[in-house]
């Protein structure tokens, strides 16, 4: 080993002093830190523009359906208010029983089958469809989400794509439901000009809708939809005040809303003539929302909070003419997505890492052996009293350490930048996984490239070979996975397809890195996945791709260093 260190030191020094190393590290730094900055900036902007989402959930129209009033406030506290919206939305009233049908029965949405077989619930043949209306269209998609009390029981959740889940520890479906957990089935309604708002119904184990758990969530706002308004007119359920407001074809609440400052208070209100439900005041660290309810005496509106609040607000009051709700800061729930956003940013950097890091390894090691053959510097190594495999090990040690140092440094800078820009550090377990994963990927690609360099006669061939592997493993792999699934005849989204995908993860260190990050990232929600694959399997697979691969390399090096 001592002699491997000698070679390693030389390799380290020769790389460190080369212009190529400087250029490659510089490009890597710019790419990776730049990507981190962009990604973090995007997260920060997203956070800045979605600070408040408050909703009132009331029956405005008196038709028995709950409508939602949502206030959207989009700037940091203390800054001029730039964006605002008042949103009226009719809850989509679709009976699961009608649309999905009982267990096993087909419907336009597909088939729901909840079975205890293999501890799995399966929603089959779920599909999107477009429901034509008189004007425009409504595109519904079906999401399956899970709201469970004991989240550790869930082993896999995937929305839309696969609609299936495994339960951990072979829990039966009955066990699952006996704890009071329930499925939520969300209809995602995509109307013109809008996106991403979802309506959740719960479903019982037999596939029937649950009566006691309904929740509406809206994450994105859009302007009023004339199509929907026409439906109200046709149904004769429209509120007279709304009717008046909508009579104007150009009616647009956003346009009509006003922002004014009165005695140091910012007030958002709609046109005074049309003020019928909402006013927002922000002053002296207090955010006040007043909802003037309509003529429905029996309306029992309630408010809910979806997002966190800007720093500086210490009290929030929600009220309508029937009731008032006041929250002080210690009661205001923290933004539940705050930590997720930071970790999500780091998690997203994994994709950049598996694209860029292999290129660094390739660029700095493609001529590691072939180049020495070409310049004949290998000759001096061969005539020194050292075993050939030790030369190989030394080369790996040297090139790994010289690249690992900037990788660790650049990772640290990137994470610090993320921390600085977002105000909180990412989770330690995710950071550690990111570092270890990066280094594992580095070991793998260095070893792979050095094997190619040992087996090929020219550095150009070695370089092309390395780039080919990079293309397959870092860029083209999803297509290969799908191609293999087609060869086996596994339908997209089927259980067999998911199992195959899991095993395909094991065949690519990049994917192992990605999925390990995903598991750690999502692990906090108890939502890890990969059917048939345990966390330990992933770790063992990564060890094989790194340590095992190095051993294979040493064998190849010993046998093929000297070419006949």
């Amino acid at each position: 080993m001592e002699k491997s260190w000698i070679v390693g030191k030389k390799e380290f020094l020769a790389n460190l002093l080369s212009i190529r190393f400087l250029i490659v590290v510089l490009i890597f730094s710019i790419l990776f830190i730049g990507a981190t900055y962009g990604q973090t900036l995007s997260t920060r902007r997203q956070r800045e523009t979605t600070h408040i989402l408050l909703g009132h959930h009331v029956d405005l129209e008196g038709d028995g359906d709950y409508d939602d009033i949502v206030v959207y406030y989009s700037d940091e506290w203390g800054n001029p208010i730039e964006g605002r919206a008042i949103y009226l939305h009719d809850m989509l009233n679709i009976s699961l029983e009608e649309e999905i049908g009982r267990e096993g029965a087909p419907s336009d949405f597909g088939t729901v089958r909840i079975t205890d077989e293999n501890g799995m619930a399966v929603f089959e043949n779920i599909k999107d469809f477009v429901h034509e209306v008189d004007e425009g269209y409504h595109n519904y998609t079906l999401d399956i989400v899970f709201s469970v009390e004991d989240q550790d029981k869930i082993d896999r959740v995937d929305d839309r794509a696969s609609m299936q889940t495994n339960f951990r520890d072979n829990k039966s479906v009955d066990d699952f439901f006996s704890t009071g957990s329930f499925f939520n089935v969300a209809f995602r309604e995509l109307t013109e000009g809008a996106s991403n708002d979802a309506l959740y119904h719960s479903v019982e184990p037999d596939g029937s809708p649950s009566s006691d758990a309904e929740l509406f969530v809206s994450e994105y706002l859009f302007s009023l939809d004339l199509t929907r308004y026409n439906e109200y007119i046709e149904n004769g359920t429209v509120d007279p005040v709304l009717k008046e407001a909508f009579e104007d074809e150009d009616y647009h609440i956003e346009d009509d809303a006003e922002l004014s400052e009165e005695d140091g208070e910012w007030v958002i209100s709609v046109d005074e003539e049309d003020v019928y439900f909402m006013e927002v005041k922000i002053a002296h660290g207090e955010l006040e929302i007043y909802g003037e309810e309509t003529k429905v005496a029996e309306a029992d509106g309630y408010g809910y909070l979806e997002y966190g609040f800007p720093k500086g607000i210490h009290r929030v009051r929600l009220q309508n003419e029937y009731d008032s709700w006041t929250y002080t800061t210690h009661e205001i729930p923290e933004d539940p997505d705050r930590a997720i956003e930071i970790d999500s940013t780091l998690n997203n950097m994994t994709f950049i890492m598996i694209l860029v890091l292999p290129l660094i390894a390739i660029a700095l090691s493609f001529d590691s052996v072939s180049g020495e053959r070409e310049t004949n510097s290998l000759f001096f190594l061969l005539v020194k009293p050292i075993e050939r495999w030790k030369i190989g090990l030394g080369k790996l040690i040297g090139s790994f350490s010289v690249i690992a140092i900037p990788v660790i440094l650049i990772n640290s800078i990137s994470i610090s930048l993320m921390w600085y820009m977002l105000g909180d550090p990412p989770s330690l377990d995710l950071v550690l996984t990111f570092f270890l994963g990066s280094l594992a990927i580095l070991v793998f690609f260095l070893t792979l490239q050095t094997i190619l360099s040992t087996l090929t006669d020219s550095s150009v061939t070695s370089l092309l070979g390395g780039l080919g592997f990079w293309f397959i493993l870092s860029l083209f792999y999803p297509a290969i996975e799908d191609g293999i699934a087609i060869l086996f005849g596994f339908e997209y989204g089927s259980y067999n397809y998911e199992v195959l995908m899991s095993y395909m993860v094991l065949a690519n260190p990049n994917m192992i890195f990605l999925e390990t990050m995903e598991i750690v990232y999502r692990g906090r929600f108890g939502l890890d996945f990969l059917p048939g694959i345990t966390d330990l399997t992933l770790i063992i697979a990564m060890l094989i791709w790194t340590v095992g691969f190095v051993v294979l390399f040493l064998f190849v090096f010993q046998k093929r260093l000297v070419r006949d």
Binding site: K10, L13, T375, S377, L382, V383, K384, E387
Partner: protein, 349 residues
């Protein structure tokens, strides 16, 4: 360490030293021809063979030869004869297809590491790490050997190779000659017993050639065994005491240079006596032709040229010329040259 040697009047002691360091002391008791008689082989090949399977070429075909201690062994052959392949096998840079060799007493296949400790090798075209300095290289290569004082060894090898002036510059700025000297320094850095030099003067200017020839002589005098490959006949003749001739992968001849010359002289034309003078006519030519030991004679523009069996015959030729009033300006006796030996052995190919 104090070494007491039993000196006699005729004994020879050579001390090779730089300004700072004693490189070696050679003590040669005058007990006959020490270079050849009492030495043991330090390089010995046994049916050493290399077949390049990819091209199906037999580069070296069952060669057998020995290099004895303190020899300067010239490994002679035209380009492509198998010199470099043989050297690569001898120093462990290439695996033989069959056969083996013993270098420094160690089997190159069974004990390659022990063998490599005893040799210093300088390839024909040395390759280096362009971004490292000469000193970096010497430090790196010295670390493979368990040296008591590596710095001292490095300094010494630098001084011997005369690279001190540029050893701290990156190799990428070195000329061909500088690279050759650095290659020599790395070969010497661990003070090996055996030096294997592949075309050491190839591509060098006259000054560089002179330097390398001198250092070969000095190192040999300091006790090193030197295995030197070359296709330059005059160089081998000048530097080596023994020579092996390789041609098309086969060893054709291994012998002392003087023996090769003698055998050439006896087998073929003998020694050439060239006489420059005036008044040589046919009668005189006939008289000289009658002298015992004169093999042939002819008239030339400057005088005459005769081939004789022995150098002493030239004295009789001179006497005959003087007795016949020929004005002799000069008489030269030419030994058969290695070039002629080489051409004869290789069949002029």
């Amino acid at each position: 360490m104090i070494l007491i040697l039993p000196f006699q009047e005729e004994d020879e002691i050579i001390i090779l030293a730089t300004k700072k360091y004693i490189i070696g002391i050679s003590y040669t008791p005058d007990r006959g021809n020490s270079m050849t008689d009492s030495s043991e082989p330090v390089i010995e090949t046994v049916d050493l063979t290399k077949i390049f399977k990819q091209d199906d070429v037999t580069a070296v075909d069952r060669i057998n030869f020995e290099v004895e201690k303190k020899d300067v062994f010239g490994f002679l052959g035209p380009n492509g004869a198998g010199k470099t392949t043989t050297i690569k096998m001898l120093c462990g840079a290439l695996d033989p297809t069959s056969g083996t060799a013993f270098v420094g007493g160690h089997d190159i296949i069974k004990a390659p590491l022990e063998m490599k400790k005893k040799i210093g090798v300088m390839p024909e075209e040395p390759g280096f790490y362009e971004d490292l300095t000469g000193r970096h290289h010497l430090k790196f290569y010295s670390e493979f050997h368990e040296l008591e004082d590596p710095e001292k060894n490095i300094e010494r090898s630098m001084e011997l190779s005369d690279i001190e002036g540029y050893v701290d510059r990156k190799v990428k700025g070195y000329s061909h000659g500088m690279r050759k000297r650095l290659a020599l320094a790395q070969a010497l850095v661990h003070d090996p017993e055996i030096l294997i030099l592949d075309e050491p003067t190839g591509g060098l200017d006259p000054q560089g050639t002179h330097f390398f020839r001198n250092i070969v002589r000095n190192l040999n005098e300091a006790g090193k065994t030197i295995f030197l490959s070359s296709h330059i006949l005059s160089e081998v003749q000048e530097l080596c005491n023994r020579v092996g001739i390789i041609h098309q992968g086969e060893i054709l001849e291994v012998d002392l240079i003087e023996n090769l010359s003698k055998s050439m002289a006896s087998e073929q034309k003998g020694y050439e006596v060239r006489v420059r003078g005036k008044g040589i006519d046919k009668e005189i030519l006939d008289k000289i032709a009658d002298i015992s030991g004169v093999l042939s004679i002819e008239k030339t523009g400057y005088g005459l040229s005769a081939f004789v069996e022995d150098e002493d015959i030239s004295i009789k030729v001179n006497k005959e010329l003087i007795e016949n009033d020929v004005q002799v300006t000069s008489i030269n006796i030419e030994e058969p040259k290695l070039e002629e030996v080489f051409l004869k052995i290789t069949g002029g190919k």
